[in-house]
């Protein structure tokens, strides 16, 4: 996998994903290893994303690598009108690997074709965010002991949420069963349901957030964003319906864990935080280990 880019989780085979998860486990046991000594990693954040950037920079620092880059397009030559093509060409010659966040969809695939060094997509608009998916997979495997045959519940904005789409596509390789809970307006798009049907995988759709969660191995919560609704009254109706409260967890399975890509607003009530089934903060920490594993893999370091 040396010198390859990571643009979409589909770029990696099942085996390659497992290798990265195994390697991430090693970094969890021993996070500080100078494997990137002498390497320069460019972190190009054309739109601010503090959480993702800090996670990457923490991963690079623990590996002993050096960072160049910017955290906001306004402080770069982009504000002078430079094309993405030219920025990537230039940065390729200054660095050994590029981590890029960009608001335009498809920009990461394009950058990977222009760059002479590997590119890691840290989010391209509403399209892909594969390192988030990788850390979700890591969190699921760590808490369930396996990725096979799990019952995954996805709750909230299933229409626009890129993290749920990528995770669904990835988990479909391990024979998962899916339950989608969302308001009518934010249902899982047909193209993804068709994808599951073609694979012969089971999925169920619900509009009520009820006791059915007692069957879940994983509950993946997402934010229902106000800007997704054309009618503000509809948003007000929906915003308090898809909220997970501690009282709802009484009948859930022992192994069940709650994941959330964060930041949350009100969709997980704070009384859930103390429940041992809440896993979203550990999930965020796992992002550093999986990103360490991804960085090393793409640079051909074992």
């Amino acid at each position: 996998m040396k010198n390859r880019s990571l643009v979409s989780i589909d770029d990696f085979t099942k085996e390659e994903i497992i290798n990265i998860l195994d390697m991430a486990e090693g970094f969890e046991k021993q996070p500080v290893r100078k494997l990137l000594e002498g390497k320069v990693v460019a972190t190009l954040f054309f739109e601010p994303s503090t959480r993702t950037r800090l996670s990457f920079e923490s991963a690079i620092n623990r590996l002993g690598g050096k960072i160049v880059g910017f955290s906001d397009a306004s402080s770069s030559s982009v504000s002078k009108g430079e094309t993405l093509h030219d920025t990537i060409k230039m940065v390729s010659s200054y660095s050994d690997l590029i981590v890029m966040r960009h608001p335009i969809e498809g920009s990461a695939r394009y950058a990977s074709e222009v760059a002479s060094v590997p590119v890691i997509n840290a989010g391209d608009g509403a399209n892909q965010h594969p390192t988030q998916t990788m850390l979700d997979l890591y969190s699921i495997r760590k808490t369930q002991g396996t990725l096979d045959n799990l019952n995954i519940f996805m709750v909230g904005d299933l229409k626009y949420g890129r993290t749920v789409h990528s995770l669904m596509m990835a988990m479909s390789r391990w024979n998962a069963t899916f339950n989608f809970i969302s308001p009518e307006e934010l249902r899982m798009p047909d193209e993804f349901k068709l994808y599951l049907e073609n694979l012969g995988l089971k999925y169920y759709e619900h509009t009520d957030f009820t006791d059915i969660i007692s069957k879940a191995d994983i509950i993946y919560m997402t934010r229902v964003q106000k800007e997704r609704f054309s009618d503000p009254i509809e948003y007000e109706k929906v915003r308090n319906v898809y909220v997970l409260r501690n009282s709802m967890l009484a009948n859930t399975k022992h192994n069940m864990r709650i994941l959330h890509p964060l930041p949350r607003v009100n969709e997980i009530s704070t009384d859930v935080d103390a429940n041992p089934k809440a896993y979203y903060f550990e999930q965020a920490l796992n992002g550093v280990f999986t990103r360490q594993a991804i960085l090393c893999t793409l640079l051909g370091i074992n």
Partner: protein
């Protein structure tokens, strides 16, 4: 009763290619895709001709020009029912139909306004996910452009 002699709306060519059953509204797109506006071969065409199948059809006759299959398949997006007759010495020596290719490069526009191909001079590239009701998946933004939203660049 005396029958009217069959008249050709577009006069015959001695050698070359006839492209028939083009939807009339897409005639100029076919011309553009095949680059017929920039070659110096003798070309005649007729449009808004009666067609039982298409309603109004167009036909193009290009003298002394023969296309490779890969080139001609590029028009499948706008003229899926097009039929080709290869003419030698006024006779049809071969008939061909067009086939939607598996990948489309540089012909269609991605319908996603937030796609990189609509911001920078990137050549568009699609994987054809459905050939019947044409659906194209963008190589870059991964969004689907379907028949109703298809725009030829």
């Amino acid at each position: 009763m005396k029958k009217e002699p069959k008249q050709l709306s577009v006069s015959a060519i001695q050698n070359g290619t006839v492209i028939d059953h083009i939807p009339a509204k897409n005639l100029f797109k076919v011309i553009q895709i095949l680059g017929l506006d920039t070659i110096d071969h003798l070309i005649t065409f007729g449009t808004n001709l009666e067609s039982k199948k298409l309603g109004k059809k167009a036909i193009i006759k290009i003298a002394d020009k023969f296309f490779a299959d890969d080139d001609i398949n590029r028009i499948a997006l706008v003229a899926p029912d097009a039929k080709l007759n290869i003419i030698r010495d006024y006779e049809v020596v071969e008939k061909k139909v067009v086939e939607v290719p598996d990948t489309i490069i540089g012909i269609a526009k991605c319908m996603n306004p937030k796609c990189i191909t609509n911001f920078e001079p990137v050549k568009t590239r699609f994987r054809v996910v459905s050939k019947k009701n044409v659906a194209l998946k963008c190589h870059y933004c991964e969004k689907i452009t379907n028949q109703e939203n298809l725009q030829i660049i």
